[in-house]
């Protein structure tokens, strides 16, 4: 099923920080595979090293052990090898919507007018055309995330890294955006790795879910989501969907209880 060379392959990725009171193991031997065009999620409680792992893949940070292969290559400098969507939308207030989306093109040396010309079809295709000239402050939270996602898509990277993109949104907007994101992804065809702490979100969007336990961050379970798409509200009410959610919830539970300190303090 998966092609010979996955878009992203992590093998034994480890991150150790040196602190004053000894070493801290943030990520411990993570193996992960995301095949061409797959949607893979990484779920775990806050502080489990999801974001650290993400920064490593994006090239913002270096692993202290293991290998990171993007399209089969172990790059020394991974910056620019994938497209990254940070937790907060990080839209630049001084750029109109279309110019925010075209940002990466301009950084590659494309002239502004040409960058806009290339960005506009994307905006039209995914329902943002009438906001092209708006300033970021004029957008709602959900709309900002849409813009941020199209900004991630535009450069045509084979690998998209989404770091809790809907974490700050209300439930209704969030559900709406998940459907929208699923739609865009199915058209764009990129490989997506999504970090989330939301069970429903992971099941709605993913082909495969990696469950992470905190301190040190380890993969404790891998769940394949073999459900048809689009996973709309009707599908979410079916037993098969609910069963996956339940299984995921149980896996997260056991990932948490394996972290003794938490179950003592947090129980």
């Amino acid at each position: 099923m998966s092609p010979p060379e996955p878009t992203l392959e992590l093998a034994g990725v480890t991150k150790r920080y040196t602190a004053d009171d000894g070493d801290v193991l943030a990520v411990d031997g993570v193996d992960l595979v995301a095949g061409d065009g797959e949607f893979v999620s990484l779920i775990g409680p806050s502080g489990c090293g999801k974001s650290t792992l993400f920064n490593i893949v994006a090239g913002l940070d270096d692993a202290t052990g293991g290998r990171v292969l993007i399209n089969g290559e172990a790059l020394g400098d991974r910056l620019g090898a994938s497209a990254y969507m940070p937790q907060h939308d990080a839209l630049l207030d001084w750029r109109r919507v279309v110019d925010n989306i075209a940002l990466s093109l301009e950084l590659q040396g494309v002239r502004r007018r040409e960058a806009r010309r290339r960005a506009l079809p994307l905006l039209e295709r995914f329902g943002l055309a009438e906001f092209a000239r708006a300033w970021p402050w004029q957008l709602s939270g959900g709309m900002r995330q849409r813009v941020a996602f199209l900004r991630t898509v535009i450069a045509g990277h084979s690998l998209l890294l989404l770091d809790e993109p809907f974490g700050a949104l209300d439930g209704i907007t969030r559900a709406d955006l998940q459907q929208w994101l699923g739609g865009v992804w199915s058209e764009v065809g990129s490989t997506v790795v999504l970090v989330t702490h939301d069970i429903n979100e992971a099941v709605v969007l993913s082909d495969r879910i990696y469950v992470m336990s905190p301190r040190p961050g380890r993969i404790t379970a891998i769940i394949d989501v073999d459900l048809p798409r689009p996973r709309n509200v009707a599908l979410q009410e079916r037993d098969a969907f609910v069963a996956v959610e339940q299984r995921l919830r149980r896996e997260l539970q056991s990932a948490m209880s394996s972290w003794g300190e938490f179950s003592q303090n947090g129980g």
Binding site: L60, L103, R125, P136
Partner: protein, 294 residues
């Protein structure tokens, strides 16, 4: 205006979008060439200007009344009416003085902006410099610049240059501090995002940090601009052939002393400073068109 060529107005939302997000959005912005204008805007402006103006008028009236009723010696304290009349009668002399001092103040501010921005970017760019340069710049503000004025004149003569230098010395500090803080307050998420797009240091500076630092830069600039005329006049007190400072010195040394003209000059300087301040505010608004209109 740049956007007209896109023909954006003809674009509509494609069918099939849920539209829920759109419903919760503010109406599509229609960026007119001069947003925020119109009768509403004017009324709001007027409402902002009227109260302080009323206070000024009341104060002037009390002053006039006091001087008239008590028959105060006009050489000691002339009334507003006398001041305005005398200054107006002396307009042939005060006009060129305004021109000279304005030239000094404005050129000095430009030098202050260049020096302030350069030091701020240097402090921000070279981390080691930050440790050594920043305290020095702060310490430089403890030096009484007024006391330096005679020396600056000794070094650069009695022409335009020493006045510009003194205005810049007075004014660059708030600009520099504002910009340093603005540059340091850049959104780390946006910085990381641009790094994943392989942006270099210069691109980070030009596309994230400088635009983000503009509000703080202008806060600093608005503070320094209020020093500009005063600094120019202090420089003229020490030694100059022309300007409002010279005009005031002449009026003080006249026999009998022309208190009315001195106060008239003070009034003129206040008006000039307010005008310069307003000009900076205008430039501020024009250079940050992305900000919501108040």
């Amino acid at each position: 205006m740049l956007y007209h060529e896109w023909g954006m107005t003809s674009l509509t939302r494609p069918d099939g979008d849920t539209g829920t997000a759109a419903a919760s959005l503010p109406p599509t912005p229609a960026p007119s060439p001069t947003p925020g204008r119109g009768p509403d805007h004017l009324r709001r402006r007027l409402r902002a200007v009227l109260p302080p103006l009323a206070v000024v008028v009341v104060c002037l009236a009390i002053w006039q009344l006091f001087v008239s009723l008590h028959h105060v010696d006009p050489q000691l304290l002339p009334g507003p009416e006398t001041i305005v009349r005398s200054t107006w009668n002396d307009r042939v002399d005060i006009w060129p003085a305004i021109g000279v001092t304005t030239e000094e103040a404005v050129l000095g501010m430009m030098l202050a902006i260049v020096v302030g921005a350069a030091t701020a970017i240097a402090i921000d760019t070279f981390r080691p410099v930050r440790g050594s340069l920043y305290p020095l710049i702060v310490a430089s503000q403890t030096v009484p610049i007024i006391a330096l004025a005679p020396l600056v004149l000794v070094w650069w003569g009695f022409g335009l240059l020493p006045k510009i230098v003194l205005v810049a010395l007075f004014s660059f500090f708030p600009i520099s501090v504002g910009l340093v803080q603005g540059l340091a307050s850049a959104d780390p998420d946006a910085m990381n995002l641009l790094r994943t797009m392989r942006a270099g240091r210069l691109q980070l500076l030009m596309r994230v940090r400088l635009p983000g630092a503009l509000p703080q830069f202008f806060t600093g600039l608005k503070i320094s601009v209020t020093y500009a005329y005063s600094a120019a006049i202090v420089a003229e007190f020490v030694g100059a052939q022309q300007g409002l400072g010279v005009y005031m010195t002449t009026a003080i040394r006249a026999a009998p002393i022309r208190t009315d003209l001195v106060l008239g000059a003070v009034f003129v300087i206040a008006v000039l400073t307010i005008t310069l301040f307003g000009l900076v505010g205008l430039v501020e608004r024009l250079s940050m068109p992305w900000r919501p209109k108040r």
